[in-house]
């Protein structure tokens, strides 16, 4: 098949394909998936998701098991949303070579449930004494943290109000509360952010009522001549977080889902392509060679279809502890049998065509006949099988991951679901952790099923009407 003919064939195929609506829907979804792979860096808020998915420290700033931010739309009492505040007002004052820099981060709190934590970030070099204070809408200002940051070049420094400001907040509450309420307050049970975002006054320790309004987080840095401070920002760790919430290890699920798209596509497409190619060539060879070679090849084929696929994959994974590439190889080793039977029967018909006989009379070898004259005829069928194989490869990988035998170094939807199962998401009703990965697996399955069935319809026009 030369270039011109291929182009003609593609045009022909497209004009047929265009008529099947479900196929177009599938194609649109496929393009969306591909687009999300290309745009991954823009789509995910956590750029190191791929490298540090299982690194707990990377996710430390997120709240634990927080629902998605849009759940606020459906509830009467709003919860604080996780956000990063990068806009601030800077003021500087020089005295004796020491720079005093005041950074004011505005934060508008309009939620019934205050955030879990406020985390101040900056980087630079040298030792920098600093002070974190909060200016409340009722005019009160409280000093939360007073400490010294030892900065090293290229490393991020952060300080958390929840962890560091406990004593300061305790003092603040003591100044407002009655003696009796204080005696009932347990230091370790105190949630600092609940107090500092609450209406001041007696009763705040037992039952804090959110004080809405404009807050200002003021960070004062004392920069010595040899020290330097860069990119400060404030992270507000809310009760609801991100597009799809967080899991019990504080990971952002949206980032994981988007990062999983490329693995699903890779696993599905690679497995489908390799195994179907092998299967088609195997089927044609079996049919064309005939005789004892055909019998032998058929026996080997039957041996492979007698193996239950998932059990052998599980046992092999349990014994060999595979990486994602070996999982793909293992799947290919058992997936190739799928098209063989149909291909062989189709090839048996093609084999009897006169042009095959003619080219044999011209002295063409079996290799040439198989690859030049028989394979091209079966390519449309091969594509249909390929499209339908993609979802099963994705599901098998997810299943192997679910039982804990997958490649734990990458982020696949199966790995996320494994986390959900072991992390008690089902029991705890963390639906935003369980539903999206499965929806994505199903969606990918649907995409390829649409494309595959559309191709099937074109190839077997008989099934269109009664």
């Amino acid at each position: 098949m030369n270039g011109g003919r291929l182009l003609y064939w593609l045009k022909d195929f497209w004009s047929e394909f265009r008529k099947v609506k479900s196929g177009l829907v599938g194609l649109a979804f496929l393009l969306l998936f591909l687009l999300s792979v290309v745009l991954e860096p823009l789509l995910i808020p956590f750029p190191e998701t791929n490298k540090r998915w299982s690194d707990i420290t990377y996710w430390d700033e997120n709240p634990r098991s927080a629902p998605p931010f849009w759940t606020n739309w459906f509830t009467g009492k709003k919860s604080a949303v996780t956000e990063r505040i990068r806009s601030f007002k800077a003021e500087e004052r020089q005295s004796d070579g020491v720079t005093l820099r005041n950074l004011t981060f505005p934060y508008e709190d309009s939620f019934e449930y205050p955030p879990y934590d406020l985390i101040v970030h900056f980087s630079g070099k040298g030792s920098v004494p600093f002070l974190v204070a909060l200016q409340r809408p009722d005019g009160e200002a409280l000093e939360l943290i007073r400490a010294q940051a030892d900065l090293t070049e290229g490393e991020d420094f952060h300080v958390s109000v929840d962890k560091e400001a406990r004593d300061a907040v305790m003092e603040y509450v003591r100044s407002k509360e009655s003696e009796e309420a204080m005696s009932r307050l347990n230091r370790s049970a105190l949630v600092p952010t609940e107090m500092i975002f609450a209406e001041a006054g007696p009763g705040m320790a037992a039952k804090p009522i959110a004080l809405k309004g404009n807050y200002r987080v003021i960070v004062t840095l004392m920069i010595l001549p040899d020290a330097e401070v860069k990119d400060p920002f404030l992270v507000v760790s809310g009760r609801v977080s991100g597009i799809l919430g967080t899991d019990s290890s504080k990971r952002d699920i949206w980032s994981g889902i988007v990062a999983g798209v490329k693995w699903a596509l890779l696993i599905g497409l690679l497995t489908a392509f390799v195994s179907v190619s092998v299967g088609v060539v195997y089927g044609i060879m079996s049919a064309y060679l005939g005789g004892w070679k055909d019998s032998l090849m058929q026996r080997i084929f039957e041996l492979f279809i007698s193996v239950p696929l998932l059990p052998i994959l599980i046992v092999m994974s349990a014994v060999f502890k595979p990486s994602i590439w070996t999982i793909i190889v293992m799947m290919c080793a058992f997936f190739w049998v799928r098209p063989v039977k149909t291909v062989r029967s189709m090839a048996l018909q093609i084999k009897e065509e006169t042009y095959i006989e003619a080219s044999r009379a011209l002295g063409a070898g079996s290799g040439r006949i198989i690859f030049r004259h028989m394979v091209p005829l079966l390519i449309p069928y091969a594509f249909a099988v390929m499209a339908l194989d993609v979802p099963s490869a994705v599901v098998y990988e997810a299943t192997v991951s679910l039982i804990g035998l997958g490649d734990a170094t990458i982020v696949t939807w199966g790995q996320i679901l494994r986390g959900a199962l072991t992390g008690g998401a089902v029991l705890g009703g963390l639906w935003w952790w369980v539903v999206p990965p499965g929806i994505m697996i199903a969606l990918m399955g649907m995409t390829f099923a649409f494309v595959g069935f559309a191709m099937d319809k074109i190839l077997h026009p008989k099934l269109r009407t009664r």
Partner: protein, 346 residues
């Protein structure tokens, strides 16, 4: 003729099984032997510890003796090929050895007994599911074929594609989350309540526990079956003899159930049994989600405990069941399709 075919097919299945077990033994030889060796060391150590007032020499001699004896018993003193052959033979005669951790409900550590205990539980769930799937699938498929391109046909076809790549265990997780913990309609899992009720209530309790897994399997499985039935029936409906039957003025019911379904029976049976086999092979993890104590759950536990003998035993038994299914499929096919029955050509 059919008997000849039957004998031939069964023998062929057995040969297939033997070859596969041999391949498995070869493939997993290293791991199996490692487990066997550590089990022997454990036993030898116990023998050494049980001696009363032993001298060092005595201990070494007796443990050494015991070790060689056990090595001989497990054929570990032979060459690689011999060892593989012995392992194959042991597996074929259902002697899988002892598990490392897992015990059966009676406390047995023999892998064979552990597995035999769980097989019926898996079978009851999956055969019920496939039976229901078949009924629903056949009914829906016929309805779809009757009005191909109609509303029902199109909506159910979309449903087929929606669930096409949906893992059954994921749907199970969702069902449990919403229908067990969200709205407590169903039990969270297991075979029966504890303590299990007796008599008729026991059966009722079993069905109550089976309801949710069954519902999940039906939601996933019925659509595909109905689409395949539709396609097969549609193919048959275009045959000339159907047109002839219609031309004769036979009622549509007769045409559909008498003429069409009879011809469609072999391929539909194939699909039904293949889907049963598929659910044995593909849905095994599904049991783990529902804590249904069948084979799938045992796979799950064996993987988590890294119990190699149990895994090997499970694999060979699953393969055996799978091959039985394939043989059965061919036999039924041969029975339903007169061309094969008379021709005697497999």
């Amino acid at each position: 003729m059919y008997r000849q075919y039957l004998v031939k097919r069964i023998l062929y299945g057995i040969v297939m099984y033997v070859i596969l077990i041999f391949v498995f033994s070869l493939l997993f030889n290293a791991t199996s032997e490692q487990t066997a060796r550590s089990q022997i060391e454990e036993e030898v150590r116990l023998v050494g510890a049980s001696l009363v007032n032993p001298t060092t020499e005595q201990v070494t001699r007796i443990t050494e003796e015991r070790r060689t004896e056990l090595y001989r018993m497990y054929h570990l003193d032979r060459s690689l090929l011999e060892r593989v052959f012995y392992r194959t033979w042991d597996t074929l005669t259902l002697r899988f050895g002892n598990s490392t951790i897992i015990k059966s409900s009676r406390g047995d550590r023999e892998v064979g007994k552990i597995i035999l205990e769980v097989i019926p539980r898996s079978l009851i769930l999956f055969t019920t599911a496939v039976f229901c799937q078949l009924l629903i699938g056949l009914f829906l498929g016929l309805k779809k074929a009757q009005r191909a391109g109609g509303l029902l046909d199109r909506t159910t076809s979309v449903a087929t594609m929606v669930v096409y790549g949906m893992p059954s265990w994921w749907l199970g997780m969702i069902m449990i989350m919403f229908l067990v913990y969200g709205i407590p309609l169903f039990p969270s899992g297991g075979l029966h309540s504890s303590p299990p009720p007796s008599g008729f209530l026991y059966t009722l309790d079993l069905f109550y526990h089976m309801a949710l897994p069954l519902l999940t399997l039906l939601l996933i499985g019925s659509w595909g079956l109905s689409l395949l039935t539709r396609n097969i029936v549609l193919g048959v409906l275009q045959e000339d003899y159907i047109m002839a039957a219609r031309a004769r003025g036979l009622p549509e019911r007769n045409v559909l159930f008498g003429h069409t379904l009879r011809t469609s029976a072999p391929p539909i049976t194939t699909i039904a049994i293949l889907s049963l086999l598929g659910s044995v092979s593909g849905n095994i993890l599904f049991e783990g989600i529902f804590s249904w104590p069948g084979m799938g759950n045992l796979y799950w536990v064996a993987v988590e405990q890294n119990d190699v003998p149990v895994l090997m035993g499970l694999l060979s038994i699953t393969t055996g069941l799978y091959i039985c299914g394939l043989v059965l499929l061919d036999l039924i096919y041969g029975f339903l399709d007169p061309r094969i029955k008379v021709g005697g050509k497999a």
